[in-house]
């Protein structure tokens, strides 16, 4: 028998020797499990009455999804508000995309200098660390609550997301193609817009649309939490002000339908990309 075989303490043959990664993963799984159990005991349950909360939630969900109706607003208005939310998401995405495209040229290691690339990456990491809602509220101090703060705040996160996606796509471009153009005396701008962008076009479109899909959800949240208006604000009013579960249901369903349509479109773009 081969000399490489190892035996367990009980004399049976070992079938595997877990490497570092596997050992780490095993301990992480055990650790997460323990943390979760302990975490449940550490949470603050002030004022929680499950015997009341669970039936009430079920009752609310029943009203929402079994008899949804718009009681305090009209269908025209609701759809207009969806348009507002979509517009907010669109503006944040498209403005973010333009800025991101140029930042991504500076971030992709094959197109830029290391110091520039690292500076932008560091900047983006910090931008991403601030929750979107805080960005929006911070801009609201300067610009007032409303569309401007919402769009600019959401744009910051979109930039953080898109620069990473774009620059990774740029880094995939075959070095030979860049070299070929450089050899023929093309300028930096030529290389960017004759090689890099056309080569990665489908990825850029796919990532941008994916961000638009995310931004729709974010815009709903900003309407509810940061005074950005749109369907999110209607949702906030229906639940927090009118306590009208039927209307909450109707609005949630409208949001759900729009979100699913966007997700299906994004999936389709991803397949063709």
């Amino acid at each position: 028998m081969s000399s490489t075989v190892e035996y367990k303490s009980n004399g049976t043959i070992k079938v595997s020797k877990p490497n570092r990664g596997q050992t780490v993963l095993r301990w992480l799984l055990i650790g997460s499990f323990i943390f979760t159990i302990v975490g449940f005991f550490l949470m603050d349950y002030t004022g929680l009455d499950l015997t009341r909360a669970i039936p009430m939630t079920i009752d609310n969900l029943g009203q929402m999804f079994l008899s949804p109706s718009l009681n305090n607003t009209t269908w025209t208005n609701a759809l207009w508000q969806v348009g507002v939310t979509l517009s907010l998401g669109f503006l944040a995405t498209i403005l973010g995309a333009v800025v991101s495209l140029f930042l991504a040229f500076g971030t992709a290691v094959n197109l830029s200098k290391p110091w520039l690339s690292n500076t932008i990456k560091g900047f983006i990491t910090i931008v991403r660390a601030v929750p979107t809602v805080l960005w929006v509220l911070i801009f609201a101090i300067a610009a007032g609550l409303g569309a401007v703060a919402a769009v600019i705040g959401m744009m910051f996160h979109s930039i953080a997301y898109l620069v990473k996606a774009y620059s990774e796509a740029f880094e995939e471009v075959d070095e030979g193609k860049i070299e070929a153009l450089r050899a023929s005396g093309a300028s930096y701008g030529h290389i960017l817009f004759q090689v890099i962008v056309p080569q990665t076009k489908s990825y850029l479109i796919s990532w941008t649309f994916l961000r638009f899909e995310i931004n729709f959800g974010v815009a709903v949240a900003m309407g509810a939490a940061a005074g950005a208006g749109g369907i999110g604000y209607e949702l906030f009013m229906a639940s927090g002000f009118y306590y009208d579960m039927q209307e909450v249901g109707a609005i949630t369903l409208i949001i759900l339908v729009v979100a699913i349509i966007l997700e299906l479109l994004a999936n389709r773009l991803k397949v063709s990309a």
Partner: protein, 307 residues
């Protein structure tokens, strides 16, 4: 000791590097009567010997239709003899892979019958299907190993067909199974790597793990789906020689999908040629000639001639 062995193996590999330099090309056809890629003499069977062998499996009128009206396999019928090495050749898209997977029912044929050891296996289900599959080993072009598990664990996966769900989930392998796995691993020359993760191995080593996993099933037949298509020439030769050896020494029937005609000619006892889902050739490797190849590879044959 171990070092000696390694040096020997390195030498062996170097000897083999001259083998079949063009194997990485998509389709390789060579007509030279004295095939230079053969290297050493391979022990194959004569036409007469093959004829006298008993039948282990017969395929009758097999059809496979993926979408309505588009048959991938059309009226396939041939016998497989016990202990032969049978190659199936044909252009890509001819249905080689579908045919191979129909044999162990990884793909359900639309109609036709497959008889294995005098039993109709076309419609077996559940436990009988699992039992049938333990008798038929399979190796794959992309090795299909669980990359993150050790070589040893991957080989032992071949015994799962004999276990119930709980025994398998808790890795209850018996010592005799482990020892047998070690014997097979040693036979295939990968005993130095038993505790390595499979993604640390080279392609040729991975394929040997694949063969070991098939062998521990104690199969009657081994199906090989393009076993050397992703390998370099020297590893390809090691794999083909192992398959030939399994066939000669253990008497296991080996069915290999290949796209290299010269490899098929060199190692097979019999060759079946497939074109657009139909059997267009079924005979001894010595019967392969220009016309036969033209029949198998179709009209764009002229484009495939190299030099």
């Amino acid at each position: 000791m171990a070092v000696d062995k390694k040096v020997k193996e390195v030498n062996k590999v170097e000897e083999r590097t001259d083998f079949n330099k063009k194997a990485t090309d998509n389709v390789l056809i060579s007509f030279d009567e004295d095939i230079e890629v053969t290297g050493q003499e391979v022990e194959t069977l004569s036409k007469k010997e093959v004829k006298q062998m008993p039948v282990i499996m017969s395929i009758d009128n097999l059809y496979k239709e993926y979408s309505k009206g588009k048959n991938v396999l059309k009226d396939i019928s041939f016998d497989i003899k016990k202990g032969e090495l049978l190659s199936i050749i044909g252009p890509s898209g001819a249905g080689k892979s579908t045919l191979l997977r129909s044999i162990n029912r990884m793909i359900e044929p639309t109609s036709g019958t497959i008889t294995f050891n005098d039993k109709d296996i076309t419609n077996v289900k559940g436990k009988a299907l699992r039992q049938m599959r333990t008798n038929i080993g399979m190796i794959f072009q992309h090795y299909n190993l669980v990359d993150r598990l050790s070589v040893f664990e991957n080989v032992l996966h071949g015994t799962l067909g004999y276990k119930n769900s709980l025994q398998g989930i808790f890795s209850m392998y018996t010592e005799s199974e482990k020892e047998e796995a070690l014997d097979i691993i040693t036979e295939l020359g990968i005993e130095d790597h038993i505790y390595k993760r499979c993604d640390e191995l080279s392609g040729g080593q991975k394929q040997r793990v694949g063969i070991a996993r098939a062998l521990i099933q104690k199969p009657k037949i081994i199906l090989c789906d393009e076993p050397i298509a992703s390998l370099d020439p020297s590893s390809s030769r090691v794999i083909m020689e192992h398959l030939r050896k399994i066939c000669n020494e253990k008497g296991i029937t080996v069915i290999v999908n290949l796209h290299q005609v010269d490899v098929a000619k060199n190692y097979s006892d019999r060759i079946v040629g497939l074109n657009t889902g139909e059997v267009v050739f079924n005979g001894h490797p010595s019967e392969i000639n220009k016309e036969v190849i033209q029949n198998i590879y179709g009209t764009d044959f002229d484009d495939l001639i190299m030099e």
